[in-house]
């Protein structure tokens, strides 16, 4: 019997094809597949089959083969031996399952709530000279809410604990219960700065379930929008980094240039963040001939400025001295905690869904993965800078190969009893949406994994044994989403 059902990104599979293993086998197959890090957990979720039975699913991504492996097990007594014991990257998913479904992973080292829905006690260290610094959930800037608890000895941080969940909206349940039109709006609101990433992920999921092929033109414009979102956010992040190290010229130039790119999205669909651009089946707005020219001209003009400012930023020694060796995450830790996106690539990991699990326009275009190796704030900034340049090239290629076609098709009925796994490499990293339909072809489960979900643990690790004054800089270099984590 097969241990895993093999899925491809954004391609539908039938529920019956997923093997239901017994718990012991399910557990050992997952641990085996992930032990050498050739596969990694991208999602775990479950649903209640009956009063006593809970079916757990685990989705693994095999990056080299470009395959997504799914297997399931039925749990009858409400508990099972924890995966975290052998596989650290499962820790957050198991905590989430415990919190949402009440499945107890036996032997899990710390079943702290994932989202601050109930009271819990913070980790503490005893000692006269140890002091605790609590920051948030209300912050001094206009940012999202999150609570950070530092255990310090002077300036040195022993442990950082992050408590999130203040933005919990229950978006997965909302999507299931909403009408198809509303679902698109909800998907775009999962994380306000990743409208295209999450929106695209949702569209791919629905198109996969309906087996709807969309036109090449629509795919290319979607790709352009996704890369513009990436450029705009990366520029914003680099500007914020410069601001945090007090290097004002770069901070204000990048602040201004970011708007140039957001305005392109505005021109395309009327919203600076790309809301209402996408719909399952294609696009709501087409790129007109005049827009194509303005896009080309404007992007070249802005990229020239971007390259100049990047040169200033990465050639100023005081900036480099500040970023270098700050907030280091080793590759080993990045693998163990299952980090994704920019933060993982800064640890020299080849994790980029555009290259490993291509969907949409990326199927016809090989993407080069931008990487750095030092795992510090500098590496994360460097990866961002490289990706801005790569995205610029990609946009140019997409614009050059735009056929004249219809961009929107109606969507047929969804397939019953099916499941689709959709991965999109947003600017933060791999965004995963999993949709399941019941026998009447209605969506009954929608699972979302934002890249932030994996990476918050990475931020905690980056601060370990670091300086408390480095926290804001590390935080900016990860730039994780609170809303995307809290859902």
């Amino acid at each position: 019997m097969k241990n895993f059902a093999v899925f491809k990104n954004a391609t539908m599979g039938h529920e019956e094809s997923i093997p239901i293993l017994n718990i012991g086998e399910w557990r050992s197959r997952i641990v085996d597949a992930c032990s050498d890090h050739s596969a990694r957990i991208i999602s775990m979720f479950g649903d209640r089959k009956s009063a006593s039975t809970i079916r757990l699913f685990c989705v693994l991504a095999s990056d080299l083969k470009g395959e997504l492996l799914v297997s399931a097990t039925d749990i009858t007594d409400g508990s099972y031996p924890s995966l975290t014991v052998n596989l650290t990257e499962a820790h957050l998913f198991e905590r989430e399952l415990y919190e949402d479904l009440g499945v107890l992973p036996q032997g899990h080292p710390w079943l702290k709530p994932v989202r601050a829905t109930q009271k819990h006690s913070f980790y503490s260290i005893k000692g006269d000279a140890i002091h605790e610094v609590a920051v948030g959930p209300v912050h001094a800037g206009v940012i999202e809410p999150g609570h950070f608890r530092f255990l310090c000895h002077g300036e040195k941080v022993f442990n950082l604990e992050i408590m999130l969940g203040y933005q919990r909206r229950g978006i997965e349940e909302l999507i299931v219960s909403a009408s198809p039109l509303k679902r698109m709006v909800l998907a775009e609101s999962i994380a306000g700065d990743s409208v295209i990433s999450h929106g695209l992920c949702y569209c791919h999921a629905i198109e996969g379930l309906a087996m709807r092929k969309i036109s090449h033109r629509a795919r290319a414009i979607r790709g352009i929008a996704l890369e513009i979102e990436r450029i705009a956010n990366h520029i914003g992040d680099l500007g914020a980094l410069a601001n945090d190290v007090g290097f004002l010229p770069v901070a204000s130039y990048f602040g201004a240039i970011r708007a140039d790119f957001l305005n392109l999205l505005m021109e395309l669909c009327g919203n600076r963040f790309g809301r209402s651009l996408l719909c399952p089946g294609g696009l709501r707005f087409d790129l007109t001939r005049e827009m194509e020219t303005t896009f080309r001209v404007q992007i070249e003009k802005s990229m020239q400025k971007v390259n100049d400012v990047l040169d200033i930023m990465f050639s100023t020694s005081s900036v480099l001295a500040r970023l270098d060796n700050t907030g280091v995450v080793t590759q080993d830790i990045a693998k163990k905690t299952g980090m994704v996106g920019v933060a993982a690539r800064a640890c020299n990991l080849m994790r980029d869904a555009r290259a490993n699990h291509p969907s949409g326009i990326y199927r016809s275009k090989k993407t080069v993965i931008a990487r750095a190796s030092s795992g510090d704030v500098f590496a994360r900034a460097r990866v961002r800078a490289l990706e801005i340049k790569k995205s610029h090239e990609l946009i140019g290629e997409f614009l050059n190969k735009l056929p004249t076609e219809k961009v929107c098709f109606s969507i047929n009925a969804l397939n019953p009893s099916a499941m689709v796994i959709s991965l999109v490499e947003g600017f933060r990293g791999e965004t995963v949406h999993i949709a399941r339909t019941n026998a009447h072809a209605g969506i009954f489960q929608y699972k979302i994994v934002d890249p932030s979900f994996h990476n918050w643990t990475g931020l905690e690790m980056a601060l370990r044994d670091g300086q408390i004054s480095d926290f804001p800089l590390c935080n900016k270099s990860f730039n994780l989403s609170y809303a995307g984590h809290d859902l």
Partner: protein, 305 residues
């Protein structure tokens, strides 16, 4: 004499916020922005003075008396300085009083920060105490070198145009550079501290005054600008000592000198990023070494003569 002294005091009270505006303007021009008006700090101070203060329940009377007391202390220190004309309050050893008045003001600010029982302010207080202690040595060696050059322990003599023209002296240039860095440290400017950040975890001076509001905050901002002014004036006077001409000329020259130092500060702040907190002691030690060289050069010079 009284007229001259009143003129000194008038400058000390009125001018300081202007130079903060100059620094900010230089920074915003380089960053490609228009930036706030040069007189913004005056508006801020007046606005804050008109407001009511809010006090945390965990604070005591220390917290309330510190802003005004430290403002007065800083003003006293400023009066010892020959600003537009030689100060009438002058005696042998007033340099030591000058330095320790600032130390007293710092002590009070630290005490008030600890009084709030906030973990942020505690961190800020510990940083301020550490870097303050490290910069103090450098200040004393700067003063010691000046004392050897002018052979007097009085600020007036040290910083007024006597028989010594400092400008061409290599040791004085070293002193100037070292003291410029100390000026940035003492006044929590870049690259030591970022006066514009809102990030509690990285601030030094700003984090200690987080709990202040209304008139108290206004007084603190005002006091900080006076301290900055006094330090910038002192830095400038190391290279261009105060002249003994008429008071209007003295005022004009002082204005230009401090303006030059403000612009220089703005430029330095624009073109450097903040250094890691853990590296600040290294920078302070570097400035200490500079002054040590200045001292050695001066001592050799004296022996040669």
């Amino acid at each position: 004499m009284e007229y001259n002294f009143l003129c000194n005091i008038f400058i000390l009270i009125v001018m300081p916020p202007f130079f903060v505006g100059v620094i900010n303007r230089v920074k915003s021009i380089i960053a490609g922005r228009t930036g706030p008006p040069i007189l913004q700090l005056y508006h801020d101070i007046f606005k804050l003075i008109k407001k009511n203060a809010v006090y945390s329940r965990s604070t005591s009377c220390i917290f309330r008396i510190v802003p005004l007391t430290s403002l007065l202390i800083v003003l006293c220190a400023g009066m010892l300085l020959p600003i537009a004309s030689p100060s009438p309050i002058s005696f042998q050893g007033d340099v030591i009083l000058f330095v320790y008045l600032f130390a007293l003001a710092r002590f009070l600010t630290i005490t008030a920060a600890l009084d709030t029982a906030s973990s942020f302010e505690g961190m800020g207080a510990s940083r301020e105490a550490t870097y303050g202690a490290l910069s103090e040595i450098t200040i004393f060696i700067v003063l010691m070198t000046l004392v050897i050059i002018v052979k007097s322990l009085s600020l007036n003599k040290m910083l007024t145009h006597g028989q010594n023209v400092f400008v061409a002296d290599p040791s004085v240039i070293l002193l100037f550079l070292a003291f410029f860095f100390i000026m940035l440290t003492e006044n929590s400017r870049m690259p030591i501290d970022d006066p514009h950040t809102h990030l509690e975890l990285t601030m030094i001076h700003e984090v200690m005054i987080l709990d202040y509001s209304g008139p108290d905050l206004g007084i603190i901002l005002y006091g900080a600008s006076i301290k900055l002014f006094v330090f910038m004036a002192f830095t400038a006077m190391i290279i261009f000592p105060c002249s003994e001409g008429p008071v209007w000329a003295g005022t004009g020259i002082l204005f230009l000198k401090v303006l030059a130092v403000s612009i220089m500060t703005g430029l330095v702040e624009s073109f450097t990023a903040r250094i890691k907190l853990i590296r600040i002691p290294q920078m302070l030690i570097a400035s200490f070494v500079l002054t040590l060289f200045a001292l050695l050069i001066t001592l050799f010079d004296q022996r040669m003569l």
